[in-house]
């Protein structure tokens, strides 16, 4: 099996799911003829026609709402946000309409909202966001954010088959930088299950998406320079959180560092810290620590962006403090 990129893995998932189920269709801005701003949907309209790969007007509320309506009727729409930053425009539609549909009106809403997310790409404040916090807070939505090519494919396939609405964040820094070999056959990764990306004994680093790779780098450095054995857990799904995996690693190493690219205040690390407190307090030999972005809009200049976002070194620094506590 040849290696394919994270981006190609997503495309493969779309192809396979559209092939498998005639109810799956894609809609978004510039996704048909052009193949999307990042070419994720390239070739889809040629294969499946412009009826199932729909170029829409610039209307995030319209697109997400339309996806919900089609989903009620048994379709399985996959919405592309050209950049995930623009999902903010559909915040009402997603949190008020879509998230509550089943609960308040018994309306099924099987749909996926996917899009290029995250920074480290000099995209500036409106092409680099990590909007997960605003959505994990909303009962009724699920959130996935893969870090590997294998998970990108397997989770997207699960998301499309899921009977609930899944926000599927794709890290654009990983699109063409990360490769993986897809398992043969129908490769599906279940939602809600974290993955131990690296086994370790001395401390746990819980993370997801682009910072997984920085955490793994940091773990190597800690091993090499300090003889510290760090376990790295890739959450993969942010809603629902895999409490079992979080508790297991906490109880194993007794020291937890949470790393995310999102800004600090109100980021998901807080939620995880609270859960660890509630269920594993007696196992903690040190406070749960966080390495996150600074609480500022993400600036564009490389010098500024690099300063604001978490880097491998920051993880190493924090892990040393944690280990020495």
């Amino acid at each position: 099996m040849a290696e394919i990129t994270y981006l190609e893995a997503i495309r493969e998932a779309l192809f396979e799911e559209m092939e498998r189920d005639a109810n799956v269709f894609c809609l978004g801005e510039d996704i048909a003829a052009y193949g999307g701003a990042f070419k994720v949907t390239e070739g889809l309209s040629k294969r499946f026609g412009e009826q199932r790969v729909i170029d829409t007007p610039i209307s995030e509320v319209g697109i997400v709402g339309a996806a919900a309506g089609a989903a009620h009727m048994g379709m399985r729409p996959v919405v592309e946000m050209q950049f995930i930053d623009f999902v903010a425009n559909a915040y009402d539609m997603l949190t008020n309409y879509v998230a509550t549909a089943r609960y308040r009106a018994d309306l099924p809403c099987p749909m996926v909202v996917r899009g290029p997310s995250g920074g480290y790409v000099r995209g500036g404040p409106f092409h680099s966001q990590n909007p997960e916090a605003g959505f994990i807070h909303t009962p009724g939505l699920k959130v996935a954010y893969p870090a590997t090519a294998e998970d990108a494919k397997g989770l997207l396939k699960s998301a499309i088959r899921d009977d609930d609405c899944v926000l599927f964040f794709e890290h654009k820094y990983l699109y063409r930088r990360i490769k993986g070999t897809m398992p043969a056959g129908d490769h599906v990764v279940p939602l809600g299950k974290a993955r131990v990306a690296r086994e370790g004994r001395d401390l746990s680093i819980i993370t997801y998406a682009a910072t997984l790779w920085k955490a793994l780098e940091a773990a190597d450095e800690l091993e090499r320079a300090d003889g510290l054995s760090a376990e790295v857990v890739d959450l993969r799904t942010l809603s629902p959180l895999d409490d079992d995996a979080i508790q297991a690693t906490t109880k194993k190493t007794n020291r937890v560092l949470i790393v995310h690219e999102d800004t600090r205040t109100g980021g998901i690390a807080g939620e995880i810290t609270a859960r660890i407190n509630e269920t594993c307090f007696a196992w903690l030999d040190a406070p749960v620590l966080r390495v996150t972005a600074h609480d500022v809009p993400l600036p564009y200049a490389p010098q500024l962006e690099d300063f604001v976002l978490p880097q491998t070194n920051d993880i190493v620094t924090a892990a040393r403090v944690l280990a020495a506590y």
């Binding site: 339309a66 008020n96 009962p139």
Partner: protein
């Protein structure tokens, strides 16, 4: 102010100087009576709700469609059973036409456990895709994109079904309205958008909502046909909507229909309408009540007997009495039901530890036995257990 309706040749078609026996708009005599039945049912049911509201049996606000029954009933009557409609708070009539029952409405307003939303949502915020109406949410305009999607699915599947979505004069100002109508237009969805211009959005008169001379003018900016009709004339309303529905069904895409009517009650029961010019409400009540107008027409021009109508009035009263009795007997929802069905999977949330009667999961940092045992699949038993534990 019936003069607000610009006379238009099209709109007047089917009314006027016809012989009594000729059915307007191709409606059978049974259908003509049916229109009366739905309007009367709407009004009487709302009157019953007012009575229950005063007895504090209604939880939350009460929204009236007094004086707008023709617009709701006439437009919904243009749909077939397989078509799908998205109502607003003043579309009780439309929902009844589409198959919602008085007992459902009453249970909803009284927040009963066996109401269509099991006590989760207010008033007439409920739906049933089988009967063809979709549960609305409060944020105005949102149903327009949703109905764009509902009808997009009809188009994609080559089903000859049509969708209809209502928006108030006020809701036309929302971004969701704009994005939804434009999206549906471009995708040529089989959708009818009915703007119910009842003169007010809460306290805000139409002139403070838009500078457009009429809402039908907005159709031009979306490149779709627009038609206007007298929303207090049930047959005109039916006809104009039917034309739009027919266009949609034959693949001609989206139409905008403006129905001109008047909101005679406040936004909700608590609203004293102090902002309304003196005499305006009375004038509409006196000169332009949709039921009075239709009754007059049924009696004179269309040649129905007083008895034909009395039979319906009696039937309506009986149905609502029965429905009230049934609805009042319904029980309140079970607290634990609140945790079911946020997701398809998992089908239930777990009760929080301080509610489940068990010690905290955090107690001595040990994961308590029984945590996570509440699930929809072993529903009843676990419900009962937890309910006991909660005592």
């Amino acid at each position: 102010m019936p003069t607000r309706v610009a006379a238009s040749g099209k709109r007047e078609k089917g009314t006027g100087k016809q012989r009594a026996e000729a059915s307007p708009a191709g409606l059978t005599r049974a259908q003509l009576l049916e229109l009366y039945y739905w309007m009367r049912l709407t009004r009487t049911l709302e009157e019953r709700l007012v009575a229950l509201y005063r007895q504090t049996k209604v939880i939350g606000g009460l929204f009236r469609s007094l004086g707008q029954e023709a617009d709701a009933v006439g437009s919904a009557f243009a749909l077939r059973p397989e078509d799908v409609l998205s109502p607003l708070i003043r579309n009780l009539g439309s929902m009844l036409v589409k198959g919602a029952t008085p007992v459902e409405i009453l249970r909803q307003y009284m927040a009963k456990g066996d109401s269509p939303t099991r006590g989760r949502e207010l008033n007439i915020h409920f739906g049933d895709t089988a009967r063809g109406f979709i549960g609305q949410i409060s944020p105005l305009g949102d149903m327009v994109p949703v109905m764009a999607g509902v009808t997009l699915s009809f188009k994609m599947r080559n089903e000859r079904r049509v969708g209809l979505v209502y928006v108030g004069d006020g809701a036309t100002s929302t971004g969701a309205f704009h994005e939804g109508i434009n999206f549906a237009a471009v995708e040529r969805c089989p959708l009818v958008i009915v703007v119910e211009n009842n003169g007010y959005a809460y306290s805000t008169p139409t002139r403070s909502q838009t500078l457009a001379k009429q809402f039908v003018d907005k159709a031009i900016g979306y490149g779709i046909p627009g038609e206007q009709a007298d929303g207090n004339d049930v047959i005109a309303t039916y006809e104009v909507t039917k034309r739009a529905v027919d266009r949609a069904r034959s693949g001609e895409g989206v139409s905008l229909v403006e129905l001109i009517t008047y909101r005679r009650k406040g936004h909700a029961e608590h609203d004293n309408q102090s902002y309304v010019p003196v005499g305006e409400i009375d004038r509409w009540a006196r000169e332009n009540d949709p039921i009075d107008r239709y009754v007059a027409r049924l009696r004179t021009e269309l040649g129905f007997a007083d008895d034909d109508l009395r039979v319906i009035d009696d039937r309506v009263r009986r149905e609502i009495d029965e429905a009230t009795e049934v609805a009042e007997r319904s029980a309140a929802p079970e607290p634990l039901d609140a945790l079911l069905g946020v997701y398809a999977s998992p089908p239930a949330q777990q009760p929080l530890w301080f509610r489940s009667g068990q010690r905290a999961a955090v107690d001595a940092s040990e994961r308590a036995e029984g945590w996570g045992s509440y699930s929809a699949t072993n529903g009843a038993a676990s419900d009962a257990r937890l309910a006991r534990e909660n005592d």
